[in-house]
């Protein structure tokens, strides 16, 4: 198996993954903030990510784990194919270990803005200008997908026009899952090739039909794995940001309640013209 891999539907993430390896640390992270810290802690990435031999060993162990899984099906053809693959892969993988890490980023923000609909528009604007897109939207929340390489920038953009009250950033490492799928896919393709050879050599109809059925089953498994790999690749290529917005309490409300803090920075003047909040290219292009 070659270490130089290309992930289907993952062209953006494969280049960006390196750049975000120092983003939120592996696993899950949950942060609640009162004062807004940086979007994601610069915690050191797990060292295994940069250790090429460690990566190769992991890859090989993944391949090795797949052998009994296939043997359990009792198909000698597949077992042979896996064994061949593992042997081929061992030298190549050690020499060219995979450096790519597949991380799926999810962020949930709760923020205050002066005007919630305008804030939602601004989140969408920020995402679309970064090459992302709108996923879902309600009256008070919006979910956007942004290219993984611009995840931090997108969080920073949201913070620039809102007051973030709560932030929850999660990074799910699906590298191993993806490699598992990749190894299984390679094995199934080998099996498919062998079955096609058997089919070409079939001497009677019964034999041909049996092989044909097996080919169909293998083909379905290949489709399922490819679909799953595309899904993971897409999830990793575009990070998900969900922003729930609340209206910022107005200054006069605070004064009326006697709650104005002594050292509160001066609020930015908000002009009382709703039309200003309705400006923007997305609204012009999408207005209904």
């Amino acid at each position: 198996m070659s270490a130089a891999r290309s992930y289907p539907g993952y062209s953006m993430a494969s280049s960006a993954a390196g750049s975000v390896a120092s983003e939120p640390s592996r696993g899950s992270e949950s942060t609640s903030v009162d004062s807004a810290p940086s979007a994601a802690p610069e915690a050191a990435a797990p060292t295994t990510r940069s250790e090429s031999v460690g990566g190769a060993a992991r890859l090989l162990s993944v391949a090795a784990r797949n052998v009994p899984a296939r043997a359990a099906h009792g198909n000698t053809v597949r077992t042979t194919a896996v064994a061949g693959n593992t042997t081929e892969g061992s030298s190549a993988a050690v020499q060219q270990a995979p450096a790519q890490v597949l991380l799926i980023y999810n962020a949930q923000l709760v923020a205050q803005v002066d005007h919630v609909p305008a804030g939602i528009d601004q989140v969408i604007e920020a995402a679309t200008t970064m090459g992302g897109f709108l996923a879902t939207r309600t009256d008070t929340s919006v979910t956007v997908r942004v290219p993984v390489g611009r995840f931090r920038e997108a969080l920073g953009r949201v913070e620039s026009f809102s007051t973030v009250l709560n932030r929850n950033v999660q990074a799910e490492d699906v590298t191993e899952q993806f490699h598992d799928l990749e190894v299984r896919l390679a094995n199934l393709r080998s099996v498919q090739t062998r079955l096609q050879q058997f089919l070409a050599r079939a001497t009677n109809v019964t034999e041909a039909l049996t092989v044909e059925r097996e080919l169909e089953r293998v083909g379905q498994q290949i489709d399922e794995i490819e679909g799953r790999m595309r899904f993971l690749g897409n999830r990793a290529a575009f990070s998900t940001i969900t922003v729930t917005l609340m209206a910022r309490p107005q200054a006069n409300t605070l004064v009326a309640r006697g709650l104005t803090p002594m050292h509160e920075p001066l609020p930015e003047t908000s002009l009382p013209f709703e039309v200003l909040e309705q400006l923007g290219l997305p609204r012009l292009l999408l207005s209904r």
Partner: protein
């Protein structure tokens, strides 16, 4: 008595017309290659689209505060630059075919290849503020720019 009823009715009709967005007194020649949207409300008083995704829209707002064009162009510019998504790409005075003076504010968004272009031209009369918006994907907008500029020069606000 009859004339009083007639006068009252006419005044009421005028007041209703002035209040209704469809009656806002302005004219903009629809750019060539654009289709005017028949019911652009609630967001716009006029809206036209090209087949390749460029839009032109006009909003008319009663100028109850008697604010000047300087106020409105500053307010629009401040709002658009607040979130950081719009990069200023120029501001200039425009003069329409009828001699009306406006302020053109131009912005770009995103990267030059895949980003967008967004213009807001502000016209202010004694009674109305008009915001003429135009925009789309930069590549598409470049094709329509000449037509959009001609349409803006054709603007006439009462």
């Amino acid at each position: 008595m009859k004339s009083l009823v007639r006068t009252t009715f006419a005044a009421l009709a005028l007041a209703l017309c002035a209040a209704a967005p469809a009656c806002t007194p302005f004219h903009l020649r629809t750019p060539d290659g654009f289709a005017r949207i028949s019911d652009p409300r609630p967001s716009y008083d006029y809206r036209a689209l090209s087949a390749y995704g460029v839009a032109v829209g006009v909003r008319a707002i009663p100028n109850r505060e008697n604010a000047s064009i300087a106020f409105w162009s500053e307010a629009v510019d401040r709002r658009l630059q607040r979130g950081g998504a719009y990069r200023p790409a120029g501001a200039s005075d425009v003069r329409t075919e009828r001699g009306q003076v406006g302020k053109s504010l131009r912005y770009s968004m995103g990267d030059p290849q895949n980003g967008g272009t967004y213009w807001v031209t502000v016209f202010v009369t004694r009674d109305w503020v008009y915001l003429v918006e135009a925009g789309g994907a930069s590549a598409s907008f470049a094709r329509a720019q000449g037509e959009v500029e001609r349409a803006i020069r054709s603007f006439e606000g009462g």
